[in-house]
Each structure stands twice: as C-alpha cells, then as structure tokens.
C-alpha cells in the first residue's frame, strides 16, 4: 500500500475506534465527537477558500445553512415515504451548497480581497434576514424538523443512537477530506495556490484569476453544504442561526486559530473550538471574550495558528535543538499563567456583577472564595495580572533568543 494509502487507513481506523475509547464512550462525549466531525468538514471547506485560495469570506454559513435546510426537507420527504437511506441524505446538502456557491460565486468572485469579503458579508446578512421572512422553506422562528429514524434501515441500523450518526459523519469526513486533498492536487487546485500567492502573475501565465476563484468558491460551498446536511440529520432540526453571522464567524475563527496555512489546521481548529465552546461555556459566561482574546493573540503572536505552533515545535524537537527553548519556556510560562489567572479573575468577577447579579457577589475562583462586592478581589487580581505581565515582559526576549538559536528564521521574500 502506498504511503498515502497507509495514512488513510490509519486515520480511518482511528476515527472508527474513537467512540469506543474509555472516557469517550458516553453519550455526551460521542455527541461532542459528532459535532467535531461536522465542524471539521465545515472548516475544511473554509480552508479551501481562505487558506488555499486566499479568499476571506464572512458569509460562509450561507452554504452550510442552505445545505442544512435542503437536507432536512429531503429528510422530511424520507419520513413521508421516500426510500432513501439516511447516510445519503447529506448529499442534498452538497447539492444545495454547490448551487448556492455557483450562484453567489458568479457575482462575488468578480472582485477579490476586501470587496469579496464585504460581498460575502452582505449576502450572508441578506440570506439570514430572508430566512426569517420565508417560513415555508425556512420554518420561521421554530425552524424545520424531521426524524432520522423514520427512514429505510440500512443493514439493520435505524440511526437512532448517537454512535451510528457519528459513523455517518465520520464516513463523510473521510470522503470530504479526500475530496479536498485530491482537488488541491489538480491543476486547478495548484492554480488556487498560485492565485492566492500572486493573482497578477497567475494572469501572466494564462489563467483568469476570477475563474479559478469561482471554481474554488463552488467546491468550498459544496463541502460546506455537506457539513450542513450532516448538521441537519444530527440535530433533526435546522433553524435560521445555521445561516447566521455567528456561524460564519465561528468557522473563520476555527480555521484561523487552527492554522490557516495547513490543511490539518482546519481540523485542529474545528476540534479545539468545538471543545472550547461546549466545555468552556459551562465554566464561565465570559468564554466568548476569552475566545476573541485568544484569536487576537494568535493573529499577533502566532499567525500560523495552532498547527503552525505544533509544526515549529516538532521541527526543533526533530533537530534536537529544543533544549534552550524549553528552558526559556520554564521562565515564561509561570509568568504567563500568573497574568492569565489575574486577568481572568478580573473578568469573571466583572461578569458576575454585570450579567448575573441575582447570583450574588460571593463566588469561588481558582479554589479561592471571594466577594466581588468588596475591593480586595479586584486589587488582588489586578496585582497578580500586573506581576505576571511584568515578569513575562522580562522572560519574552529570552524565549525569542532561544528560538533564534534553535531554528534560524528563513525570511520569506517576494
């Protein structure tokens, strides 16, 4: 078997085994895994657009949502007797996404860069607003529902249990990943990278950049629609938030935080952000603030995202040059933790007072009881944060120097 084939087999085996790993075999964990899988497909489609073709879109949820609606309507038809097995229903999402991508892409890709971003923003708002005005297709405020168990059984499976839905999602994830990777290897895929890097030069080697962008947009939209279709069968309901700005912003955050330059970054970001959304929101009502700050930190200090960070660290570990860097981290990390702990405390007590005043001012943070109505937690937290910041400022140059030593940076020119 070729190297690529081996990699594929390993990934597929891992995916298949995940829901049976102890700790991940509960209902909640399996549901989370399913969500991550759907998000991963959505993120892969967005990476195709942004990471590979350089197109920043603020309205990618349009394809996701329209795909979801198409799939849920198809599922309703299946409930009413259409003999289509459940795993094929997401294909309606794929088709709807493709059609929408062609229609919108034809107009939007006439321009690139900033104007393209604004067009996608406007179209996203348009579709979202329209979704609330046309209840027949979009179901109004309650959305559209269907049942995934009232469908023809496949090999005796009724797809009622979460683990069965997970496998449907995992199957399509592998298919989507393969399709995206294969697409990037074709001449058009290569030209997507070229158009991203230098659209002008791409013209001088015979290609109309707009055509390339249009194809990329259509393919990305189709995959996003597929993700939407899976979303529909997982939740058995689609509402207008599926085409909303929040969902468009979410996939952008996922792909950028995960690492926009690497294909694997999309998957990494999808997993990380989904996990954060689900688990962090249990602990704190400020999780969106933390996410936004984290996102900005990535832009400022690690534009390659989580995948980029991992890749750089893997490189110096392979070169056995990681020692000085780890030592520098030993100084910097405690300082960073102090700063984060202090700031988080300030944020948490502020949020408690302003958003949940009924819960009272007494709370417990980092195992320390405190009363947010008194000045002490504020002063203490501010001092801790300040101390952490000052220590970090002193430790940062050491980290930078260690990195320069471990891997002399090659400046990307041109």
């Amino acid at each position: 078997m070729s190297r690529a084939g081996r990699r594929l087999a390993v990934c597929a085996a891992l995916l298949a085994a995940l829901p049976w790993v102890p700790g991940l075999d509960g209902g909640f964990a399996r549901s989370l895994l399913t969500q991550m899988g759907i998000a991963a497909i959505f993120a892969i489609s967005y990476n195709l657009l942004l990471g590979q073709t350089g197109l920043l879109s603020f309205g990618h949820a349009v394809y996701f949502g329209l795909g979801g609606y198409a799939a849920i309507h198809l599922l309703r038809a299946v409930n009413a007797g259409l003999p289509l097995p459940l795993p094929l229903v997401p294909l309606a999402g794929l088709a709807a996404g493709l059609v929408a991508g062609i229609a919108i892409g034809a107009v939007a890709t006439r321009r690139a860069g900033t104007i393209f971003a604004l067009i996608t923003l406007g179209v996203g708002e348009l579709v979202h607003a329209a979704s609330l005005m046309l209840p027949a297709f979009f179901g109004g405020e309650e959305g559209v529902t269907a049942s995934r168990t009232r469908a023809p059984h496949l090999f005796g499976l009724d797809f009622g249990s979460q683990v069965q839905v997970y496998y449907v999602v995992a199957f399509w994830l592998v298919a989507a990943a393969l399709a995206a990777l294969a697409f990037m290897r074709t001449p058009v895929g290569r030209m997507c990278n070229a158009v991203r890097d230098n659209p002008e030069r791409a013209e001088f080697i015979g290609y109309n950049p707009q055509r390339i962008r249009f194809i990329a947009c259509s393919v990305a939209a189709a995959l996003a629609g597929l993700a939407g279709g899976l979303h529909a069968i997982n939740y058995e309901i689609v509402t207008s938030e599926a085409v909303g700005a929040a969902r468009s912003g979410e996939v952008l955050l996922m792909v950028y935080i995960g690492g926009v330059h690497h294909f694997a970054g999309a998957i990494l970001g999808a997993v990380a952000i989904t996990w954060l959304q689900v688990s962090l929101s249990d602990y704190t009502s400020a999780w969106l603030l933390y996410l936004g700050l984290f996102f900005m930190a990535i832009i400022l200090y690690a534009p390659g995202g989580l995948a980029g960070i991992l890749a750089r660290h893997a490189a110096i570990v392979r070169a056995r040059a990681a020692g000085p860097v780890m030592l520098a981290y030993a100084f910097a990390l405690p300082a960073a933790l102090l700063m984060i702990a202090g700031s988080a405390t300030l944020i948490e007590i502020a949020y408690r007072l302003s958003t949940r005043p009924e819960a009272g001012a007494r709370m417990r943070l980092f195992w320390i009881p405190m009363n947010a109505a008194t000045p002490w937690p504020w002063i203490g937290a501010a001092l801790v944060a300040l101390a952490g910041y000052l220590l970090l400022k002193r430790a940062a140059p050491r980290v930078r120097a260690a990195w320069d030593l471990a891997s002399p940076a090659e400046a990307v020119r041109g």
């Binding site: 294969a182 697409f183 290897r185 074709t186 001449p187 058009v188 895929g189 290569r190 030209m191 990278n193 070229a194 991203r196 890097d197 230098n198 002008e200 030069r201 791409a202 013209e203 001088f204 080697i205 015979g206 290609y207 109309n208 055509r211 390339i212 194809i215 393919v219 330059h261 090659e410 400046a411 990307v412 020119r413 041109g414």
Partner: protein, 251 residues
C-alpha cells in the same frame, strides 16, 4: 504557438493628463533579440505593461503575428504566446520552486481548468518543469519554498517562469538588475540559450549585456523611440548620446 513577430504602431499611453508613451512604433521580427534602453523614467516598463496586457493603450495598435492584442487582458495575451518577466521579482512565494515552474506550464500544455486529474501524474507537465529547472540551474532547489530563495535564485526563477511555457515572444524586464558581475554573466548565458529560436525583447541598463545579446537596439526617451539600430550604430548615434549625456547633466 506564435511565430513571434511583434509590431507596435503609434502606441500612446496617458495617465490622466500625463502622457507616458507618446507614439511608439516598433517592428520586432520573429526570432530577433531586441533590447530597449533608455534613461530612467523613459517609460520602458510601461511599454512592457502595454504589450503584455497589464495596461491598455490610450491609442495605437499592437500586433502579435498580425493579430491585435492591444487592450486585451494579460491572460489573453499570455495564451496567444507572449510571456514576460518582471523587474521586481513576481513569483509565487508560498509554493515550491518546482511548483512555480509547473504552474506556468498548465495552460500552454492544454490542461486549462482540469480539476479532476492529479497534477503529479501529468507526465508532460512534470517533465517539462524538471527540464526547465535544469536549464535555469535550480534543480537542486526544487522543493524549496520560492520565498526563501536568494535574490539571484529568484531572478533565475523569474526567467524560468517566463520561458517554461514555450512562448514565442519573451519580454524580459531588467533580468540582470541587482546582480553581480559573475551572476550577470551566468544570466546572459542562460538567456541566450533559452531564447534560441524565439523572439526576445529585453529592457536593460547594463550595456555589456545589451551589446552581448541584442541583434538590434531601440532607445526610448520620454516615451518616444529616438533611434533603432544595431548595437554598434546606436553606440555612435548622436541623438542617443545627447539623450543619455543630456539627462545625466540634468540628474
């Protein structure tokens, strides 16, 4: 592929009220090596932009093998068999050196908007790309990301992208700019070899390169051609001398 005869007739280009090219007429025969020289600001790059489709002329006609290309988009001109390099390196920095060359081969070899075939399996494209890489001396940097190459390597890649597709007419915009003596000599050899049998139009400041490579030379001053001839004739041409010396006195 184009035979390579290029004809400019009365080409004008103005930006608003400012006239940059004021009526250029030029005949470049197929297979000829033609250099365009002139003081800074004469409009040499603008002329290239007009011919290659980056700009549209305000007036005039540009004929490639008898077909009008004035005002056509850059990709249309490229498809008709005219390729160019740039004065400021204009490569694909996040793609490998090999991929840079290969990308310029997709269209000429007919692969167009193919989105179902694996490019790594296209023998014609890959062989031509490898071959071009050899010719420009970058075979050992094949997998390096183009953005990290040295300046001279990037200039070589710049030329490579222009010539890989087999265009009949090649425009090189200051190909040896910023190169040392040794690098320049290598570049001239490379240019001579890869443009054998093709039409070459070259903007250059280095007179040594011009006299070593060019069959004919045109002198562009303030958007007009003041003289055309063999290098030897141009050298002794009075109008040319005053243009260069004159502008040197003003500078």
């Amino acid at each position: 592929m184009a035979e390579g005869a290029l004809r400019l007739r009365g080409v004008h280009k103005s930006f608003g009220a400012t006239a940059i090219i004021r009526g250029v007429s030029l005949d470049v025969a197929a297979g000829e090596r033609h250099a365009i020289i002139g003081p800074n600001g004469a409009g040499k790059s603008t002329l290239f932009n007009l011919v290659s489709g980056r700009l549209a002329p305000t007036r005039g006609s540009i004929l490639l093998d008898g077909a009008e290309i004035a005002g056509k988009r850059a990709y249309e001109v490229s498809r008709l068999g005219l390729a160019r390099s740039f004065q400021v390196t204009n490569i694909f920095p996040r793609m490998s050196v090999f991929e840079n060359i290969r990308a310029s081969l997709f269209w000429p070899l007919g692969h167009r908007y193919d989105f179902w075939r694996d490019a790594a399996r296209l023998a014609d494209v890959n062989e031509r790309a490898a071959h071009t890489l050899e010719r420009i001396g970058l075979a050992d940097r094949r997998d390096a990301m183009a953005g990290v190459l040295t300046y001279a390597e990037q200039r070589a890649l710049e030329i490579g992208i222009a010539i890989a597709g087999g265009a009949g007419v090649i425009l090189l915009d200051e190909p040896t700019a910023g190169m040392s003596r040794a690098e320049t000599e290598k570049a001239v050899e490379l240019i001579r070899e890869v443009t054998r049998g093709r039409t070459l139009v070259m903007v250059e400041h280095d007179m040594g390169v011009v006299f070593g490579l060019a069959d004919r030379v045109s002198v562009l001053v303030y958007g007009e051609i003041v003289a055309t001839g063999t290098p030897a004739n141009i050298r002794v041409n009075e109008a040319v001398q005053s243009a260069y010396l004159g502008s040197a006195a003003h500078a």
